[in-house]
Each structure stands twice: as C-alpha cells, then as structure tokens.
C-alpha cells in the first residue's frame, strides 16, 4: 500500500518534472560550479523549483525527488547555510571555516532537520570516516532519516573544505528499495567529486 502510494507520487512528480524541465544529465565528467563529478547514467537534473537549494546547487534524481535524490552543494562560504528556507525564523545552521569532521557531521544533521521542517524528522548520522576527494581530505558518513507521514530515508554524505569553503554532496533515498537501488552509483559519484 505504502509502496503503491509512493509509486503514484513518483509518477506524478515525474510527470510534472517533464512539464517543468527535468533534463537528463549526460553520463561522464561534468562540472557543477567548480566541483567536478563523474556522472553515472540515468540521472535527471531537477528544475530550480527545489526551493531549498542554494545558488549553484544541483539536485539530480532517478525516480523522482520523493524517492531518491543526489545533491551537489559547492563552495559554501563561512557563515552561510547549506540550504535556503522561505522561513525567516528557520534558524538554519551555518558553516564555519574551522569546522572539524564531527562538526560538519552535526551541521549536516541539523541541516536535514531543517530540510524536512523542525519536528517533522529525526535525523541520525553514523560511520564518519575519512575520504580524500581528489587530493583534498574530507569525510564520508551515513544518514538515517525518520520523517513524519513519509517513508524512512537513508543516505550517504560526502564533504570537504577547501579555500575556507565547504563542498557538500549527499544522496538520500526512500527505504526500502530505493536507497539500495542506486546506492552504489550515488556513492561512486560522491566519492568522485573533486576540485
């Protein structure tokens, strides 16, 4: 029942996407602002109607944004949030240039809380581990999101700091099924990110 509803929602989202300008991302090397990524096949660039996205952010999906998405958020400067919010009182957490891995992990956790809305989701992170993006040291970690009136989501996050700016990539997908369906390709794209 739940899956049926999801597929229906995805179909509607996909249909509206066709109308409002989803575009296929060509597989292979691509650049998002100054971030280079090796795009896997089958991902579609979501239109700018994603109101939570910062400028220069790209959000891609395979089956619709409700089911899976990968986002590339390049060059977040000191003092700025990772997403936008239409609410002035959203109290978005901001990036600070001296953040260490544990704080970047917390920044993302709190940002995802805001992404779903205060009180609508419980976010937990785990498996914080080092990863080198190109030749820049950074981190990877996993995310679990329990969301009100929604399927659970799982995700993988990559992040690194260069030139006092944060580069942040995440894959989030509904559980069961959709997270595992594209995890390998999504994690590969995140790990491929470099300047």
């Amino acid at each position: 029942m739940k899956i049926t509803r999801l597929v229906l929602l995805a179909a509607v989202a996909g249909l509206s996407g066709c109308v409002t300008g989803y575009t296929l991302v060509a597989a292979g090397p691509t650049t998002i602002y100054d971030l280079h990524v090796n795009a896997a096949p089958g991902w579609n660039l979501a239109p700018g109607s994603n109101t939570n996205a910062r400028a220069n952010t790209q959000v891609w999906t395979q089956d619709g944004l409700l089911l899976n998405r990968i986002a590339f958020v390049p060059a977040v400067p000191h003092g700025e949030a990772l997403i936008r919010s239409p609410q002035k009182d959203a109290a978005l957490p901001v990036f600070r240039k001296d953040m260490l891995p544990n704080e970047i992990e917390e920044l993302v956790e709190s940002t995802f809380v805001k992404l779903y809305g205060d009180g609508n989701a419980v976010i937990s992170t785990s498996n914080l581990r080092p990863h080198t993006f190109g030749d820049t040291p950074g981190v990877l970690f996993d995310v679990d999101a329990s969301v009100t009136e929604s399927p659970d989501y799982k995700g993988v996050v990559g992040a690194f700091v260069s030139g006092e700016r944060l580069y942040f990539m995440y894959y989030l997908a509904a559980e069961p099924h959709y997270f595992g369906k594209h995890r390998e390709a999504a994690e590969g794209m995140i790990k491929s990110a470099h300047l």
Binding site: R96, N102, S110, V113, G119, V122, I123, L128, P130, E149
Partner: protein, 388 residues
Amino acid sequence: MRRTATLLAATALLAGGTLPAADEEITHSIPPGYTPEQERDEQGLWLEMEEAERRLNHSALLVRNPDITSYISEIVCRTAAAYCNDFRVYVVRNPNFNASMAPNGVMQIWTGLIVRAESTDEIAAVVGHEIAHYTRLHSLQRLRDIRSKSTAGGIFDLAVLLGTGYNIPVGQLAAMSAVLAFSREQETEADLLGATLIANAGYDPHASYRVWLNILAEEEAAAVKREDHGMFSRTHPDSEDRARYLQSWVTSRYGPPDQETVSDERLLAVLNNNYLMLMEDQIDTNRFGRSQDLLERHAAMGVDPSLVRFFYGEMFRQRGNEGDRELAIAAYRHAIEEDGAPPAAYKNLGYLLLKDGDKKAAQEYFRTYLDVEPEASDRAMIEFYLEE
C-alpha cells in the same frame, strides 16, 4: 458549595469573554466509555481518526520505550479518573512543545513537552487540557461549526488538521478563521476543566499556569523568535493571556500555591534515562537560546549534572560564538569530572583541543573515547587523528 453549570451557561460565559466563577463547575459532556452510536457525522470523524491512528502506529517517530510511555500513561489515567480506559496514548519524538487529542480518544504527547516540564504536575496540566477537549466533544463541535460555515472542502481541511496537527486551508480561509475563533473559546474551556481535573487527581492545579510561564521564559530567551507559531498559536490563547487567566482562576478556586515548584523523582528519572535522545533532538533544532534556557532549568531541577554539562558543551560548541569554545571545553571537563558523561564528551573535547593545537591532549581524549565506546561507528575517523 459548588454548583454545576450547564454546558450552555459555561459556553455562553466563555463566548462573552469572561471566565466562569471560581466556584462553578465545567462538566464533562459524555459519560466514561462513550462511543458514537447515532450521530453519523461523529461516526465518520471517529473512522477518519482510526485511519490516522493506524498510520501513527507505524510511525518511526513513535516512542516505544516503556520508561517514557508508562510514565505518561500513568499521568493520563490518574488525571482521566473514570475515563482512563477511553484514551490511547502515543508519545511522539518531536522536540517542540505540543500535545493533541483526537475525537476518538487518541492522545499524542510530544517529547518536547516532557523535556520542558519542571514537574509531573505540569505534564498532567497539559494532559488534563487534552482530556477536557475529548470529554467536551470539542472536535465534534468544530466539525459541525465548519459544516455550517463552509463546503465539503472545509471538512477535508479539518480532517487534515485533526490528523496531522497542521492545517492546509485551500480557499477556505474566511471559514477557517471563523472556526478557529470558536476554537480559542474551546481552548479556554479546556484550560479550566483541565485544571479542575488535575486538582481532583491530586496534582497541583497551579502547574496549569506555570507550564505557560515556562514557555514565555523560553520565548524570551530565544535568539531567533518564532514568526509563525503555526496552528498551535492561532487556535490557542497566547501564553501570556493563558498564564494570567489560569493563575487568577486557579488561585480564586484553590487558594494560593503553598510551595514553589518541586521537581519529582519520577520525572527526574525519566529525564535522566532518556536525556541523550531528548536533548539531542533539541540541539538539532539549532535554537541555542531555547536550549540554554532548558539546560538552566534542568540544572536547577537536579537532572544528572554530567548530562546537563555535556549538553552545555554541545550547545556552546555548536553555537560557536566568540568565547564559546572555552565555555564548551570547561563544560566537557566538568561533565567528565562528574563521572557519567556520555562517551561523546571525550571525543568532542578531543576535537576542541585539536583545534586549540593541543594534539597530545586531544589524542588522549580520543583514546579514552575509543576505550569507553569500543564499537564507535566513527572509529576510522578517530584512528585517522590518532595516527597523524
């Protein structure tokens, strides 16, 4: 001697903007064990809520820890007295302050209420208010009011409102505004009946306004004030009005409070046993003025100092204002000295010392972290810093 006012008289008094006299009773509108048998609209409302309850039962945000659920259920049962078996209580993991009551007896208590209570009496005050909504058939009154003011679209809106706590009025704003104005009167009625219920159950009725004074203090401490309080404030009297009329009414009826708020061991045990979950959710809201207000309150209440100091460390470190790093380091050190600090206190103190350039001390704390948390999921990250 108190006399019993009729439903009509009580409603008229509230609608007129004055409170019932302190010696008047606002009574329940239904008997214990009530189920709708004749009214089709009410039966429909219950069916709608039963479907919402089925979804709620599968929610990953439902708290299933019996330590918390049995504590809340006991408060509900004691306050509800003869109506105890009419309620099904769900504790929902949500750091905001709220509780809700559906017309079929499904009560939701958010964890944000538990973390803000200074006593069990205060939780009982909110529970009593919700019980009053149920026994006064307020939801049914609202449904009928909507039906008299709008089309079927409005009924859908109400279903969304009752099921989720949020309202999505589409082209129904005028009608909804009228309904919500009516609802504010119901809220006042529920406040007064709720205060009576907790007094009858042996709780301190003065808790009914103290809970709102705490909310006012938290709002005062907030760095970012809420611009839109959402459904809760539009349908409820504001906290200041509420505290004022409740204090006046309760004091007239029961006399002045005979003592200041005293924390109870049962609430303290629930907070201590679940503090990590409750405060992590609060810290994740990134609302540090509010978090600091809560921590000050918890310290005064006697919540385990190692836990309170750990979260002071978390709050200062994540807030990141000038001087916060030093405050966070001191808080983590105090938490560790208290014996009983969460393993993350060692790790996060280590990270702060790393920032300060004290690599040797940082590594000492990282090693201790791995000793006390051998299954740490971030072991690879910590070992990266140990090997540097």
